[in-house]
Every structure is written in structure tokens, then in C-alpha cells.
Amino acid sequence: MTAPLPEALDPREAAIAGQPPVRRRPGPSLVVGAAIVGLVVVLALVSFVWTPHDPTLVNAGARLRDVGDPEYWLGSDKFGRDVLSQILVGARTTLFVGVVAVGVAGLLGVPLGVVAAMAPRWLGEPLMRGMDLLLAFPALLLAIMFSAVYGGSTLVAMVAIGIATVPSFARLVRSGALQVLSSEYVLAARAAGRSAWGIGLKHVLPNVSSLVIVQASVAFAIAVLAEAALSFLGYGTPPPTPSWGRMLQESQELLFSAPRLAFVPGSAIALAVLGFNLLGDGLRDRYDPRLEDRR
């Protein structure tokens, strides 16, 4: 009797085992997603060294210029501020919020997930129940609650979005860790006398890292959406710092006369979210070939 093959084989191992090698070339999702995310990062980096105008400069003489204006390429808003400059600096805001929110979520969620998987039942079970409970508080609701008490700010938004995203990391990492813990090399490590800490750090964490990276990309998309929604409601990034969500909110009163003011930041938000979602999907396909057909 042959033992069942472990899933997700390395291509070389698979070839040795007589299975067709798993195709590992990057799929279209990964390429397009990485390109879009790269573009957003470049926009944000460019904004540090160059913007066509000062994004916060009010210029009464240049109000509501149309897209394609020789001076204001993407037009200007009702205060005469340059839309392109605001988009560039807004990319910075978006990425900053995303990095901090996902950082908070990962730093709390990953250890929680590993602990929940390795801890005895009396500790692991309540931990996961707590995570389930936290799911009843979506990012936006938490952020609005925080804002009710502390007032709206970028920091409040980032922390609230981060905390709301903790359960998704914790649950994913826990299920990944449980799989690792049932593997033979963990059994071997146990037999060799390695401590629980050692197993957690040496075996579990490296083996769930790909799950974490995929989840980080997906969580980033959620953070971008939540930041945009919060800024749209006036609880996110406070003025004058440019933010895509607030640009959209400010455009709303001019929807009848200048809908382009909504299209530009709207497209930026949608594109960024699309990029991170695609990147997440692409990474998942790459790390987990079993899912290849499903997406």
C-alpha cells in the first residue's frame, strides 16, 4: 500500500513521485494585481519628491478646471486645488493607513491564531469565540464608535480597521497552524524534545507565512475600502491632508455640474482595491495550486 501523497507538492518532488509537475508560472491575477499595486506605490513615492502643484493650495483663479487643462491635467476642484496632486498625495495616505491597519491586524492576529491552535482547549476555545464575537463589529462600525469617543483622525481609523481585521488573520492562521501541527515533522520535532515555543517559531510560523501574506493582501484591500468610506463620512483623514475618500465626499455637492471630480478619486479607490484583491488571489493561486481551478 502506498501512503497518500501530501497535497501541494514541490514541483520536483511531484515529478519524482510520478505526478505531473505543478505549474508555477505567475497567473494573470498576480501579474495584473502586482502591476496595479506597484503603480499605487509609485504614485505615493512620486508624491514625496514631486507634485504638479501644492495639493492643498487654494487658488480662486483656477476653480473647477476641466480634465486635460494644460496646467491642471486632471482638473481642479471647487477651491482651485489640483486634483492630480491630491491623488498623488492621497495614494500616500491610502498606503499608510493600509500598512498600519494590516500591521496591527497581523501583529495581533497571527500570534493569537498560533496560540489558539497550540494552547489547550480551555484557552484556545474562548480565544476563538472572542474572535467570532469581534466579527460582529465590522471595521466601519468600530471606527465610528472610536470616533464617537476620540473624534475622527487617521490614527483612530487605522487602529479601528486593524482591530476589526484581527479575527480574519487569527482564524486563518489557526486553521493553517492546526494542519502544520498534525504533520509528521512536528511529531518528529516533539519526539526530539523541542519545546512548544520552538515548534511554534521554527515550524508553525514559517509554514503559515504564505497564508499570512495572502491574507495581508486581501486585508489591505479591505483597509483601503474602509479608509475611503470613513473619510467619505468625515471620520477618517482630517483636512487638509488629501484623501481619496474625502475628495469623493467633497465632489458630491458638485455631482450635477462636475461629475469628473467624483470619477477621478473613485477610480483611484476602485483601482487600488482591485489591485490588492487581484494580488491576493494571484498569491493564493501560486502558494496553493490545489485552488487553481476555483478562481
Binding site: R129, L141, M145, A148, V149, S251, A262, G266, A270
Partner: protein, 316 residues
């Protein structure tokens, strides 16, 4: 089945107890005295003191919590610190509006997602399936408020077919009610539909690989009939779960969409009270939203067993 129900009910009650303590603790234990916050920085010490006594804020925290929870159980939410009005009737009034919106969005999402997702799964190796997947992927990336703004620019500004905003109760003018419900319902529903479509697709794809579908096809059933007779109930389980999880997204998405379309729903009420700094009111609305999410999760957990009889025998 009974054991399952009892366990789920216990989990629900425990979750409600913990989350009510969390919401209460969050609003009460944080820096700042609610009475001071409600009256503003310039209020006199006496006025703040009077308000504290009137609303029992000088009582011990535990006593305040117990009186708040027992009020919730009697559906007596008390009065607002700021405007002094009864909270419960206001919330009930606004809740109806939000439920119309969320209900409409949910129906739309299912109506779009189930056929489109199934088609995507059955055509997943063809161009049509890929195109639909790409469209769904873009749909997922568009936040509801952006969809709302885009729909307004097209259908209200350009074409002038539908009103850009506002709300009319259905019993006042049913036609106007429907006209005003279309755009907000669409903006909330289409985006959720796009998310749901992807789950329907992967769920149907999973089921397609099962032996019983192959057997059904071998018996001579066509792909649709085999799926309809044997696959749908199996594919429905993950989809129903996602649908339930989406309810919290929809409720909270409604907050933003209500802002876009100037709809007097629960979300607008929540945001108004946040800007009024009326913490008790905010606390009540948040608790209601959390209650709604927990209740739906409970119903789904119970529904699993109805959808999938196998769960009745196996693990409770």
C-alpha cells in the same frame, strides 16, 4: 437537532452578554464624562452634575450596566442625554427604513449572484466565464458609496430617470418610494452581489467535482439538471454562510449609502448622534446592530441543519 439548538442558543446568549458589556464598557469607561461630553465644554459644573444625577451617571458602573441591559430587555432604551427624546421609538422608526434598503439589496444580491455565479462555474474554462469573473472582480473593488455616486451621475444627472436622493415611506406614496429605493438598493446590492457571485461560483465548482454529480451525469442528466437535482442544496451551505456574514457588511454599508442618498435610516441616525456626541444613543444603536449580526449568525447556524440533514446525525 435539539442539542444543536440548545448549544447555539447558549453561544448566542453568551455572545450577547459579552458584546453588551464590551459596548457598554467602551462607551462608559473611556476618558470623558458622557454628561460633560453631551453638554459641551462650556457647561457649568451644576448643569453637568444635574444631568449626571438625572441619568444615574453617578451610580456605580455595574449598576448602570445592569439598568441599561434590563432596559434593553424591556425595549426601554431610555432618553437621549442631549435632546431628551425617547430613544426606542426613534430607532424603531429609522430601523424600518434601513431594513427596506438592506432587504432590497440582499434580494438583489442573491438574484444577481446565484444565476451569474452558477453560469460562471459551468463556463469556467470558457471565455464567457472568464469575462464574468473579471466583471465580478471589478464589482468587488467598487465600494457601495462609489457605486451610489456613479449611479446618481448616470440615472439621475444624465438621464434624469430617477431621483438623486430622498426618502418617501411606502404607505405615503408607493411609486415615489420605489423610485427612491432603486438607486440606493442597486448600489448596495450590486456590490454585495459581486462578492456573493464569487462564492456561488467556487461553491458550485466544488460541488461539480463530487461523485454524485458525476453519477447523475452518467445516468444521462444534463449539466443544469444534475446540478439542480443534486448539487444545489450542497452548494447552498457555504453561500448561505457568506450571505449571513454579508448582512453585517450590508448593515454597515447602509450607513454610508444612506449618507450618499440622504436617507433617514439607522445609519444616518448613528452618524447624527456621533456628531451630537450623544454617547448613550450611539451605544444603543451599536448594540442593536451587533444584536442583528449575532441573531443572523444564530439563525444561519440553525439553518445549516435544515439545509443539510447529514449534520443532524453527525457532529452537533
Amino acid at each position: 437537532m435539539l442539542l444543536h439548538l440548545v448549544r447555539r442558543t447558549a453561544v448566542l446568549l453568551a455572545s450577547l452578554a459579552v458584546s453588551s458589556a464590551l459596548v457598554f464598557g467602551f462607551m462608559v469607561l473611556l476618558p470623558g464624562d458622557p454628561a460633560r461630553v453631551a453638554l459641551g465644554v462650556n457647561a457649568s459644573e451644576e448643569a453637568v452634575g444635574r444631568l449626571r444625577t438625572e441619568f444615574g451617571l453617578d451610580r456605580p458602573i455595574v449598576e448602570q450596566y445592569v439598568s441599561w441591559v434590563s432596559g434593553l430587555l424591556r425595549l426601554d432604551l431610555g432618553r437621549s442625554y442631549v435632546s431628551q427624546v425617547e430613544i426606542a421609538p426613534q430607532i424603531l422608526d429609522r430601523l424600518q427604513v434601513t431594513l427596506w434598503l438592506v432587504g432590497c439589496a440582499m434580494v438583489l444580491a442573491v438574484v444577481v449572484a446565484v444565476p451569474v455565479g452558477t453560469l460562471m462555474a459551468l463556463h469556467h474554462r470558457r471565455v464567457s466565464g472568464l469575462v464574468l469573473s473579471a466583471v465580478a472582480q471589478v464589482g468587488v473593488a467598487v465600494p457601495a458609496f462609489l457605486a451610489g455616486i456613479l449611479l446618481i451621475t448616470v440615472f439621475a444627472v444624465r438621464l434624469g430617470w430617477l431621483p438623486a436622493n430622498g426618502w418617501t415611506p411606502p404607505n405615503e406614496d408607493p411609486v415615489q418610494f420605489l423610485r427612491q429605493l432603486v438607486l440606493p438598493g442597486l448600489s448596495l446590492g450590486l456590490v454585495q452581489g459581486a462578492v456573493l457571485t464569487r462564492y456561488v461560483r467556487s461553491s458550485v465548482l466544488d460541488v461539480q467535482r463530487e461523485d454524485y454529480i458525476r453519477t447523475a451525469r452518467a445516468k444521462g442528466l444534463g449539466p443544469f439538471r444534475a446540478l439542480w437535482r443534486h448539487g444545489f442544496r450542497n452548494a447552498a451551505i457555504p453561500v448561505v454562510t457568506v450571505l449571513a456574514l454579508q448582512l453585517s457588511t450590508l448593515l454597515i454599508g447602509a450607513v454610508v449609502v444612506e449618507r450618499v442618498f440622504v436617507i433617514p435610516g439607522l445609519g444616518s441616525l448613528l452618524l447624527d448622534q456621533v456628531s451630537n456626541r450623544d454617547l448613550v444613543f450611539v451605544q444603543d444603536i451599536v448594540m442593536l446592530l451587533v444584536l442583528a449580526v449575532l441573531l443572523v449568525n444564530f439563525v444561519v447556524d440553525v439553518l445549516y441543519v435544515v439545509i443539510d440533514p447529514r449534520l443532524r446525525v453527525g457532529r452537533p
